[in-house]
C-alpha cells in the first residue's frame, strides 16, 4: 500500500495505539470534569506535567520508585486539585463556561511558568523501572515492554472509569447530579462533595498519565502545554462530556496521527485539527455527543 510494506504499516498502527493511550486517559479526565462540573479544565496539561514531576520528586527526595509513584503522585496531584476546586472553581459554576476556561488557562500558565523558572526547559531524566525494560520482537517490529504496559494500563483505567460512571450506583448518583443537583440533594446526597471528589479524580487521571509518560519523554515543565491542545481537539471530536466517546476517539486519533507520520509526516501535528474542523462542520456536537 503506497509503497509501505504491510509489516511496517502494522507497526505504525501499534505505535498509534500507544500514543492514543495517552490521549484517551487525558481526554477521559477532561470529559469527566466537563460532564459533572461544566468546567473546561485547561489546567489539565499542567496537571499531567505535575504528575510526571511528582514521580521525579518522589524518586529524588523520598526514594520512592516508579510503582509507588504510580499510586502516590496521582493522589497528591489529585489532592491539589481538590484544594483548587474548593478555593477557586466552585465560585464559577453559576457563570458562563468562559470564566472557568479563563481561570484554568491562567492557572496553567502560572504553574508552567513557575516550574520552568525552577527547572529550566531541557527537562529532567527519569529512568525506566527495571521490570519494564527491554522488549519483544514481534517480527514486524520491536515492541518495548514499557509501551505495552502503557496500553494495558490505559485500557484498564479507561474501561474501569467508564464502568464506574455508567454501570454502578455511585455512577448513577454522579449522572443524576449532573442532570438535577437540587433533586439529588433532596435524597440526602452531598452533591458539592461529590463534585469536589470528581474534580480530584479527573486531575488524578491527568497525573497518572504524567507518571506513565515520565520514563518515555523528558520530565519537562512544558510537556503538557502542547499536548493539552491536541487533547482538547480529541474531546471536541468525541463530543464534550461523553465518557466512551473520549476513550474511543483518543485511541482512534492516536492511530490516525501515527499513520500520518508515515504518509505525510510534515502534517502529523495538524491532522487532528483538520479532523476536528471537519467533524465540527458535519456534527457540531461531536461524534458521540448529544446535542442539547
Amino acid at each position: 500500500m503506497l509503497g509501505i510494506a504491510p509489516q511496517a504499516l502494522f507497526g505504525q498502527l501499534l505505535i498509534g495505539l500507544i500514543n492514543g493511550s495517552f490521549y484517551a486517559i487525558l481526554s477521559l479526565g477532561l470529559a469527566v470534569i466537563f460532564g459533572l462540573l461544566n468546567i473546561i479544565n485547561f489546567t489539565h496539561g499542567a496537571q499531567y506535567m505535575m504528575g510526571a514531576f511528582g514521580a521525579w520528586f518522589l524518586l529524588q527526595y523520598a526514594g520512592l520508585g516508579y510503582w509507588w509513584a504510580l499510586l502516590v503522585a496521582p493522589l497528591l496531584v489529585g489532592l491539589i486539585g481538590v484544594v483548587l476546586e474548593r478555593v477557586m472553581l466552585k465560585r464559577l459554576y453559576h457563570l458562563d463556561h468562559l470564566y472557568g476556561l479563563l481561570l484554568t488557562f491562567g492557572l496553567a500558565l502560572i504553574i508552567q511558568g513557575l516550574f520552568r523558572n525552577q527547572f529550566g526547559s531541557s527537562g529532567l531524566p527519569y529512568a525506566m523501572p527495571a521490570e519494564l525494560r527491554g522488549g519483544f520482537n514481534l517480527g514486524f517490529m520491536f515492541l518495548p515492554t514499557y509501551r505495552a504496559w502503557v496500553v494495558v494500563c490505559s485500557l484498564l483505567v479507561c474501561l474501569g472509569t467508564w464502568y464506574v460512571i455508567e454501570r454502578t450506583r455511585l455512577g448513577s448518583y454522579l449522572r443524576a447530579a449532573t442532570e438535577n443537583p437540587t433533586l439529588v440533594r433532596a435524597f440526602g446526597i452531598n452533591v458539592p462533595r461529590m463534585i469536589t471528589l470528581t474534580y480530584g479524580f479527573g486531575v488524578a487521571l491527568a497525573a497518572l498519565a504524567g507518571v506513565l509518560a515520565a520514563p518515555i519523554y523528558q520530565v519537562n515543565p512544558l510537556m503538557g502545554a502542547d499536548l493539552i491542545i491536541v487533547v482538547f481537539a480529541v474531546v471536541v471530536i468525541g463530543g464534550m462530556g461523553s465518557i466512551m466517546g473520549s476513550i474511543v476517539t483518543g485511541f482512534a486519533l492516536g492511530v490516525i496521527e501515527g499513520l500520518t507520520k508515515v504518509f505525510y509526516p510534515e502534517a502529523s501535528n495538524t491532522v487532528i485539527f483538520v479532523i476536528m474542523a471537519l467533524v465540527l462542520l458535519v456534527k457540531p456536537a461531536g461524534l458521540f455527543g448529544r446535542a442539547h
Binding site: 510494506a5 511496517a8 507497526g11 505504525q12 505505535i15 498509534g16 500507544i18 500514543n19 520552568r116 529550566g120 526547559s121 531541557s122 527537562g123 529532567l124 531524566p125 529512568a127 525506566m128 527491554g134 522488549g135 517490529m141 520491536f142 518495548p144 514499557y146 509501551r147 518515555i216 519523554y217 523528558q218 519537562n220 512544558l222 510537556m223 502542547d226 499536548l227 501515527g258 507520520k261 508515515v262 509526516p265 510534515e266 502529523s268 501535528n269
Partner: protein, 403 residues
C-alpha cells in the same frame, strides 16, 4: 569672503557633520538579546545568553571607558513573524543598535534581512543555518559560534570515516533542519556514503517512535538527528527504548548542547559523538568563565551559544570603542577587519562573508563512571583546525565575496 575661506567653511561643516554621524546614537549602545525564553531552546539560549551579554559588558569595562551600554531581551517564541515584529519595534522605536543570539534559523534569517534593510548590526550565536554566511550573507551580520556546515563537516566526516556509511535522517521541518540535513548529506556523499532515507518531523515533537520505526526499517547504519534541543533529547531517549542501538544502528546527534546532555543524563547520553565550538572545561580561562557564568545562571553551565554571545558582544564593544560610533554597517566592517581575541575562543578572524572562524571540537560524552560530577560530561576526541572547520569562503555563494 574669498573662495579660500569659503572652502574652509564648507570643509569644516562637512567634517563636523561626519564627526556627528560617527558618534554613539542617543548616547547609549543598546544591545537586544532576542531568543527563545520559554520553549524548547530556552535552556541552551534563553536567560543564559542575557547573562553572557551582561558579563561581556562588565568584562569590557564599559563605564570606565565612558561607554553607556544597555541590554534588553525578548522572547521570539520560535516564530519568524513574532521575531520580525520585535526586531522592527527595537530598531524603529526603542533605538536598539545591535541584536544578538537569535536561535532558530527561521527567525534568524528574518532578522538578518531586516537588519540589513535598517543598516544595523546582527551578531548570530544561536542560529545554525550556514545560509547566513552563504546565499543570505549580509554586510550587517556576523555569524559567530557554529553553523550547519561546520557540524556536518565535523561529525559527519568523523562518522563516515569510521564506517558509518549508510544514513537515515530525522530532520526538524524548518530552515535549520533542512540546512543541517543538506550540509550533512553533502559530506556523507562526498566521502562515499549513501543516504537511504529521511523523514521530516514538526518542530517540538514529543513522540518519535513512529519516525524511529521508519529509521529502523531503513536498515541504515547511522540515524542522523538533524534537529536540536528537546527534539534531540526525546529522539535519543526513545531510540534507546526501541532497541535501536542494540539492534546495531547508531545515532548521530548532529547538534547536541551541554544542557541536552545534562537533561538526558549520562546513562542515556554516553558515547554520543558531536561537534561543538566550546566546552567550559577546556583550559583555565574557560573554566573560570564557566564557573562565574554558572553562579549567575541557576547553576546551569554555559553552552557554546552562551560563549558565542559573550565573545561576540565583547568584540562588538571593542569595535564600537575603536570607531567611537555605533553605526551598524560601520561597526560590522570594523569587527571584520580587527582580529578577534577573547578568553573563550582565543584568537580568531572574521571573514568578509561574516563567518567568524575558530577551531571546532569533536567531543564524546563520558560514561557515568568517568564523570567526576555534574557538568563533567565531555571528552575531547579531536580538534578541527580553524582553517578546515568552516565552509571555504568561495563555496558559499555569498555575494560579498569577490570571485
Amino acid at each position: 569672503m574669498n573662495w579660500r575661506t569659503l572652502l574652509t567653511v564648507v570643509a569644516t561643516v562637512v567634517l563636523t557633520a561626519g564627526a556627528a554621524e560617527a558618534q554613539i546614537s542617543d548616547g547609549v549602545v543598546k544591545i537586544g538579546v532576542l531568543n527563545d525564553q520559554s520553549s524548547l531552546y530556552a535552556d541552551l539560549t534563553g536567560q543564559g545568553s542575557v547573562v553572557a551579554a551582561r558579563m561581556a559588558v562588565e568584562d569590557f569595562g564599559a563605564p570606565a571607558k565612558g561607554l553607556k551600554v544597555e541590554i534588553i531581551f525578548a522572547d521570539h517564541q520560535n516564530k519568524a513573524d513574532v521575531g520580525s515584529n520585535i526586531t522592527r519595534q527595537w530598531y524603529d522605536a526603542d533605538k536598539v543598535d545591535v541584536i544578538v543570539d537569535v536561535p532558530n534559523s527561521a527567525v534568524a534569517l528574518a532578522v538578518n534581512q531586516l537588519t540589513r534593510d535598517k543598516k544595523k548590526a546582527f551578531l548570530v550565536s544561536g542560529a545554525a543555518s550556514s545560509d547566513l554566511t552563504g546565499k543570505a550573507c549580509s554586510p550587517n551580520t556576523i555569524h559567530w559560534t557554529y553553523d550547519t556546515w561546520a557540524l556536518a563537516n565535523g561529525t559527519g566526516k568523523a562518522i563516515v570515516k569510521t564506517g558509518g556509511n549508510t544514513w537515515f535522517f530525522l530532520t526538524a521541518d524548518y530552515a535549520f533542519g533542512h540546512a543541517l540535513e543538506r550540509d550533512t548529506e553533502a559530506v556523507v556523499l562526498a566521502h562515499g556514503g549513501k543516504v537511504l532515507g529521511k523523514v521530516r518531523h514538526p518542530l517540538n515533537t514529543a513522540d518519535f517512535s513512529s519516525f524511529l520505526l521508519q529509521a529502523q526499517a531503513s536498515k541504515a547504519k547511522i540515524i542522523g538527528l538533524a534537529n536540536a534541543g528537546g527534539d534531540t533529547t526525546n529522539a535519543i531517549k526513545q531510540a534507546a527504548e526501541f532497541g535501536i542501538v542494540k539492534g546495531g544502528q547508531n545515532l548521530a546527534g548532529l547538534l547536541v548542547f551541554l544542557t541536552d546532555v545534562h537533561g538526558l543524563g549520562l546513562p542515556t547520553a554516553q558515547g554520543l559523538i558531536f561537534t561543538e565550538a566550546f566546552y567550559w572545561d577546556m583550559n583555565d580561562k574557560t573554566r573560570a568563565w564557566g564557573k562565574k557564568f554558572a553562579e549567575r545562571n541557576r547553576g546551569i553551565h554555559p553552552t557554546m551559544i552562551h560563549a558565542g554571545v559573550y565573545a561576540s558582544v565583547l568584540h562588538y564593544l571593542k569595535a564600537v570603542e575603536a570607531l567611537k560610533s555605533d553605526d551598524g554597517s560601520g561597526v560590522i566592517a570594523k569587527m571584520k577587519e580587527t582580529p578577534t581575541d577573547d578568553p573563550l575562543f582565543g584568537k580568531g578572524t572574521i571573514r568578509p562573508d561574516g563567518r567568524k572562524v575558530h577551531d571546532m571540537y569533536l567531543f564524546e560524552v563520558k560514561k557515568p563512571a568517568e564523570s567526576k560530577g555534574a557538568w563533567d560530561y565531555y571528552t575531547l576526541r579531536a580538534t578541527i583546525p580553524a582553517a578546515e572547520a568552516f565552509r571555504p569562503l568561495d563555496k558559499g555563494d555569498c555575494l560579498l565575496v569577490k570571485k
